[in-house]
């Protein structure tokens, strides 16, 4: 099998495996390639031999096959099934790891917009079509789209995640090798779909620290500080910091806790819940509040919503001051 293994190794060596999960995906890909090449070679050789040996007029014996046909059938049905299920299991196991995002990773918000990637870091810096990450420092990408479905695809990391409008989706990768790797938009999104290309720049810790110092933050202050300005500008405090706590629930420490709406069991107040609460008006009715929250879609721009969410996440519950929480 060495030539086959060599070919597969050679082919899969073309694309650098620059993320933690890449070697595992390449491993399964290589196994699949070896199995497929083996099957194709065996079937082709077998068919060619049969064509020659049993051509019309040849003297080969045409006696019926001794073994009952159903035995042969049962053999290759079970054989195929077993091999397939092995590949299924491996694929599903690695997929589950890829989808389970380790907690507590630094977050980078990437917003897909028709034909560019709008990248915003936690400390307020903003870039277009470029993502700077540090080697061996896994990063969580919080992905959303402002118009149509895009797909964040970095071939070198074997990572791809569709970005669906109206939905916040997260993915993550652990960049293991320095270098620049291209980002493609894999889901057709219109005229310049082919130009929606970006780059992930993986820097060694030293270079990354230098980049952090050198790159002047494009926006003043951190996302949280800008979020607070938005929070005040749109008068969220007027309802959410009502001393008697009758008009609306307090938002301090809300992020991540559980919320008990009237008729939908227990919902975790994650980014999606907050994002929908601001842009789509709350899906669920919270009992016991006098005001119904208006929808801010078209009023608060999506970038501001991201900053507002960052601010809400930073709101820790002050120890005993708030008596009004339900």
């Amino acid at each position: 099998m060495t030539p086959v293994r060599a070919i597969c190794g050679w082919v899969s060596g073309w694309l650098p495996a620059a993320s933690g999960v890449a070697p595992q995906v390449d491993g399964i890909f290589r196994e699949l390639m070896i199995a497929s090449i083996a099957v194709v070679v065996v079937l082709t050789v077998l068919t060619l031999c049969i064509l020659v040996r049993f051509r019309h007029g040849s003297k080969a014996s045409r006696a019926a096959v001794g073994i009952a046909t159903w035995k042969i059938e049962a053999l290759w049905i079970t054989g195929t099934l077993v091999v397939f299920l092995l590949f299924f299991y491996q694929g599903a196991r690695v997929f589950a790891d890829m989808e389970r995002i380790p907690p507590g990773l630094p977050e980078i918000t990437v917003v897909g917009r028709q034909w560019m990637w709008d990248v915003r870091y936690a400390d307020g810096r903003r870039e277009f079509n470029v993502v700077h990450v540090q080697q061996d420092a896994p990063v969580r990408l919080v992905l959303s789209s402002e118009d149509v479905i895009h797909s964040f695809f970095v071939p070198a990391f074997r990572v791809k995640q569709d970005v669906v409008p109206g939905k916040i989706v997260s993915t993550w990768f652990d960049p293991t090798r320095t270098g620049t790797y291209s980002i493609f938009c894999a889901q057709y999104c219109g005229t310049a779909h082919a130009q929606m290309i970006g780059a992930v720049v993986v820097l060694s810790p030293r270079d990354y620290a230098a980049w952090v110092r050198r790159a002047a933050p494009a926006l003043a202050g951190t996302a949280e500080s800008r979020g607070r300005l938005i929070y005040l500008r749109y008068g969220c405090a007027e309802c959410h910091e009502d001393p008697q706590g009758r008009r609306a629930p307090s938002l301090a420490g809300l992020y991540g806790t559980e919320v008990r709406p009237a008729d939908a069991g227990i919902i975790r107040a994650d980014e999606q819940y907050l994002h929908d609460a601001v842009l789509l008006a709350p899906k669920y009715r919270l009992p016991g509040y006098t005001r119904t929250m208006p929808t801010y879609s078209g009023i608060i721009s999506p970038p501001d919503v991201t900053d507002l969410l960052a601010y809400l996440r930073s709101l820790r519950r002050p120890p005993a001051a708030l008596s009004a929480t339900p």
Binding site: L43, L46, K160
Partner: protein, 537 residues
């Protein structure tokens, strides 16, 4: 024995081609054989339009950045290629041409169950085709054949409504044909023709008809909802009011994955017919082959989620759909093994239909195996929406579907036209298509692994060499496809006469003169033996 030209047979009865040959007699016919030829001309016309779009795309992709067409035009080209090839060539190809012609003949019937509905389905198909053609002529559509919202319903400025209407109408033709064939197979089988004596092409067309009838309505409602959202400016898939674009994908792929089985199942039936005839041997494991066809049709409805592994569908659903996708590929593998089992210890004649069948065997195997790559969750995350997927479905649709369609056309050409096709030219065409196909689509597997996304009109330079090979292959493939367009029409009028059974094959369609008389059989044949009842070698 090579097909020998038979002396002029005594003209017992005028063939379905003879008799009244005015245009009105053709356009008003309810004879399933004439309707089959009407479909043959129509879908060949649409195949050429789709192929022209493909040629332009391959030309544009020969070089990383070439301004042969603007990006907008390129988007309309690949949408045109997708829509025309899927709905106006591949889905109708074998069922409406070979199926219409052969189903009544193979079961010993005079015609299909509802002859007038059969003609109506052709007219509906032509109306749908004209609507789609009009949409292309006045500007085309740039959403891709998948019409994903919200792009198709809100952001696209192409003629989406016209194209969706064309497909909506063509869908009814598909339902009418499927419904007709199901009732025909149930009700009009010749005496003695039990289910397990049916030729496997009849099984394949029966299973395909079930998918056509049960899947197409969901496409109709999906296009209707997308159309309403586009016209009304608001719709149930609109994320701005809390709708979910993934719901569109679920509805669309609930139709579209069974649709790909509509395209491949009939080819499997044609394969079984050709391989048994040219190895002069009974099919290996008839019951397993019949049940494989039915299980592909049934399981085909359970696997659509593998198109959405990375679309933020839940992980649990991904695991479920991946498992079911592995199950649905087992029957296909069994059929490949059984075809090779049929060849084993046969007496094989290498005529053109068998060349096409062997081409199908090789390319369908590769296509199927790469389907396993895409069903494996972890690998699909990397390969989804890249050229790997393009290569996979072209290996199945073109390497499998079109090869079997051409093999079937050549195999039953003597029955359809009463004359033989030129053997040498046909063999050259088959080999050219096989070589051209591999040159065109095999490099795309590598491109896909390297990460070249699909539907890109320009690409980074590192993909250049493989794209050049693919574009050159497309030229060879185009030549291969043009050859039959020359020698088949010529042989229709001037080919050597073929007797009722030039291949000495079993099957009821070979027991009637070729071209068959309008009422197919002078008296209803009675079937006594099992199918493919070749004398022991």
């Amino acid at each position: 024995m090579t097909p020998s030209a038979v002396p002029e047979p005594a003209r017992a009865a005028p063939s379905y081609l003879g008799g009244r040959t005015t245009v009105a007699s053709w356009l008003g016919t309810s004879d399933h054989k004439r309707i089959a030829l009407l479909y043959l001309f129509t879908i060949t016309f649409f195949f050429m339009i789709g192929a022209a779009a493909a040629a332009l795309m391959r030309w544009q992709l020969a070089v990383p950045t070439l301004d042969l067409v603007t990006s907008d035009t390129y988007n309309r080209l690949f949408t045109l290629h997708g829509v025309v090839m899927v709905w106006f060539f591949l889905i109708p190809s074998i069922p409406t041409v070979l199926g219409n012609f052969l189903l009544p003949l193979m079961i010993g019937a005079r015609d299909v169950a509802f002859p007038k509905l059969n003609l109506a389905s052709w007219y509906i198909f032509v109306c749908g085709g004209l609507l789609a053609l009009y949409a292309i002529v006045v500007g085309g559509v740039d959403t891709g054949w998948t019409f994903y919202t919200p792009y198709s319903s809100t952001y696209s400025n192409g003629h989406v409504m016209l194209m969706a209407a064309g497909i909506f109408v063509a869908g009814f033709s598909s339902i009418a044909t499927g419904l007709n064939f199901i009732v025909t197979v149930h009700k009009l089988r010749a005496p003695g023709l039990t289910w397990f004596r049916l030729p496997l092409l009849v099984w394949a067309i029966y299973a395909t008809s079930i998918i056509m009838v049960l899947a197409t309505p969901v496409l109709a409602i999906t296009l209707l909802l997308m159309g309403l959202e586009r016209v009304g400016g608001i719709g149930i898939f609109d994320p701005r009011i809390g709708g979910d674009p993934l719901l569109f994908q679920h509805l669309f792929w609930f139709y579209s994955h069974p649709a790909v089985y509509i395209m491949i199942l009939p080819s499997m039936g044609v394969m079984s017919e050709i391989i048994t005839t040219f190895s002069r041997k009974r099919i290996f494991g008839y019951p397993v082959m019949a049940f494989s066809i039915l299980s592909i049709a049934g399981l085909g409805f359970l696997v659509w989620g593998h198109h959405m592994f990375v679309s933020s569908q839940s992980v649990y659903a991904g695991v479920v759909f991946s498992f079911l996708s592995f199950l649905v590929s087992v029957p296909s593998a069994i059929k490949v093994f059984n075809w090779i089992g049929t060849l084993y210890r046969g007496s094989i004649t290498l005529a053109t239909p068998l060349l096409y069948a062997l081409g199908f065997l090789a390319l369908f195997t590769i296509g199927g195996l790469t389907g396993i790559f895409l069903a494996t969750l972890a690998v699909d995350v990397h390969l989804h929406d890249t050229y790997f997927v393009i290569a996979h479905f072209h290996f199945i649709m073109v390497g499998g579907g079109v090869m079997a369609y051409l093999g079937g056309i050549h195999y039953w050409w003597p029955k359809i036209s009463g004359r033989m096709y030129p053997e040498r030219w046909a063999a050259v065409a088959a080999v050219t298509i096989f070589v051209g196909f591999n040159l065109t689509f095999f490099p795309q597997y590598l491109l896909g692994y390297l990460g070249m996304p699909r539907r890109y009109m320009t690409y980074p330079a590192e993909f250049h060499t493989l794209n050049v090979v693919s574009s050159l292959g497309a030229v060879v493939l185009a030549v291969g496809y043009l050859l039959p367009l020359f020698y088949l029409p010529r042989s229709f009028f001037r080919g050597p006469r073929a007797g009722p059974n030039p291949w000495k094959a079993t099957g009821l369609e070979w027991q009637t003169p070729s071209p068959p008389p309008p009422e197919n059989f002078s008296e209803t044949p009675v079937v006594t033996g099992p199918p493919y009842d070749y004398p022991p070698l």
